[in-house]
Assembly symmetry: none
Amino acid sequence: MTLPARSLRSDAARNRELLLAAAEEEFSKRGMDASIADVARRAGVAKGTVFRHFATKEELVAVVVGGHFVSLSAVAGKLLESADPTGALLEFLTVAAKQLQHQDLVFLQAVTEGDPTVTECRNQLHAGTNALVDRAQEAGGIRSDVTGPDILLILCALVHTVGLQTEQSPDSLQRHLIILFDGLRPQGASPLPGPVPERL
Amino acid sequence: MTLPARSLRSDAARNRELLLAAAEEEFSKRGMDASIADVARRAGVAKGTVFRHFATKEELVAVVVGGHFVSLSAVAGKLLESADPTGALLEFLTVAAKQLQHQDLVFLQAVTEGDPTVTECRNQLHAGTNALVDRAQEAGGIRSDVTGPDILLILCALVHTVGLQTEQSPDSLQRHLIILFDGLRPQGASPLPGPVPERL
Amino acid sequence: MTLPARSLRSDAARNRELLLAAAEEEFSKRGMDASIADVARRAGVAKGTVFRHFATKEELVAVVVGGHFVSLSAVAGKLLESADPTGALLEFLTVAAKQLQHQDLVFLQAVTEGDPTVTECRNQLHAGTNALVDRAQEAGGIRSDVTGPDILLILCALVHTVGLQTEQSPDSLQRHLIILFDGLRPQGASPLPGPVPERL
Amino acid sequence: MTLPARSLRSDAARNRELLLAAAEEEFSKRGMDASIADVARRAGVAKGTVFRHFATKEELVAVVVGGHFVSLSAVAGKLLESADPTGALLEFLTVAAKQLQHQDLVFLQAVTEGDPTVTECRNQLHAGTNALVDRAQEAGGIRSDVTGPDILLILCALVHTVGLQTEQSPDSLQRHLIILFDGLRPQGASPLPGPVPERL
DNA sequence: GATGAATGAGGGTTCATTCAT
DNA sequence: TATGAATGAACCCTCATTCAT
């Protein structure tokens, strides 16, 4: 009796993972326009199964978005142990940018508004980034008047917008990141690499 | 009394304006999820009337987005005559940010991709911003390795992302604009005003 | 006062003709799926003008269909004076077939059901074809057990159905007309021309 | 009692049948003007269910039309084994006429143009009728210059037209079939039964 | 009489969600 | 638990018809 129950459970767990992965993929490609049917298809399960795991589409989005916050928090947590506070912050921004670029879910935030789980995850992330920022500021690495959320917000904006470009070179993101870095430093500017973009 | 003589046409013209205003409002609030029915309702006309003025939803979006580009171009054009090149660029960014903040349609760009009219409007805007940037660069006001589209892109991203925040202080946008400005200057940083944001 | 009135009248009359011609064209091409807008456009007038001349779409159809009946009646009337009764009937069928093939409106009949004007026109046509058939039967040219409407009906059916074929040779209609003729003669059969059709 | 075991699938199957029957009915009455909503209503299901079974209206039409071709093919196939080739052909025409009369879908052919499944079904039907015709020709039962498609086309035309008549006697179809038969025979004609039709 | 703007019902189609199996 | 069939609301768009000018 317990064994089949366990096997069912693990099947369910596996389906949940498949669904989350599929949802991430679909939502990052088509936003809320991604259909539950598409998610189910990509996960290789039936539509009904999606609703067994997530009561509504919004809940699924919330879990996906929350997961991203958690994963970014983990990065921040690890870098908090670095010996170079300023380097750690820049490293965080670079890593976070790459992750966000791979799967841009920022614009789904609005949908998760008010979800307590997502809020919790986001608060955790903010705590992490604030700590990173504090350390860098203490070390004199960045201007003293910005906060973790400030930086995070700008980062998301940059990533998202780069994604909107039709002709984006591999350096597009890097260009904008450097502008951000320079804006964060107490002093001067660095050279930008790569070809210049021609269109908005 | 003489004016009402041609009121039929002017009624149609009025409806067109009402529709564009309604569309701007709806699209800026709900993006492409805004329904034609909502636009019609807000404009106070029947659904069919929308299609009399704009053959498809995409066309309506294109006209609205194109209009924004034109209006931004006008701002750029006026500032091109300023005696202070660097100040003109910063002024442009500030004004543009406010306009975009009021009605953020940037994220509808993807939908208008390939529309020749929108493309034309966008090119004009790019020309204007490039000119502003060139002048500021010649005056040594901003780093020499960025382009008009670079800056515009970042600006749009900031506005859009700030708009996603639920609890945004009036200074939110300004804070981030200043970081952007500082990232653009060849040298140091400026103080950030206002309360610090708490959430992403 | 009378002159401008007259000129208006003749303009109206001209528009009526233009509309009927346009309607014939459109309806024969697309049946009831032809839109009033298309008819108006082809006639070079505004949509509203169509409704000034014909109260409803159905009325327009009725007038067009009635006109066809009248025109076929005229052909029958002329051939009634022929010295060769059997030849006259066959000639009628051939001419009628060509006219119908050019503009097939038979399938719009259902729409005109109950319209007294169309009924009148149709009755006149039936009188004409009955007379043609009677004469041919008296002359021993065709079997004595068919009627004018029988023949007309079959003719219309053939034309319409041939019109549905995608790959119709110019001889398609002729092939089938000859089979019909042979079915009408008291005796034997005639050779069929042209390539054989491959599809239904 | 053992059968209901697989009732889920059979419910779906049942709905499919209901839908096809409803579609046949509606399409044969109103052609492509029949609405999906009407079909759904007649089948007793929701509109969405129609699209679960048939992706588009065109697909539904294609399936219905294809089904008719298949069913006619079956009749032809069975009669191919008859000992009396000429009788078999006439029997086929009679049976086919009755089936077509019950549900006239000929005029929907245009819509299915290019659909590979329908094409396949139609080709099969043509093969069957050609075989029937060949045998009848070898037996000297019908003229040697007609083909299966020829006959099929005339048959469809006759049936369709009889359907257009407002006051059709039960003999209407028979009258026209006999004319067709006589047109197919190498020699003379047969008497027509029933009252003569009065209207086109 | 002519125009063309406005209306609104209706059509095909999609999709989140429910539920019987 | 998983499935996928069914639902029905919502969407974009078309078109006959009305009516102010």
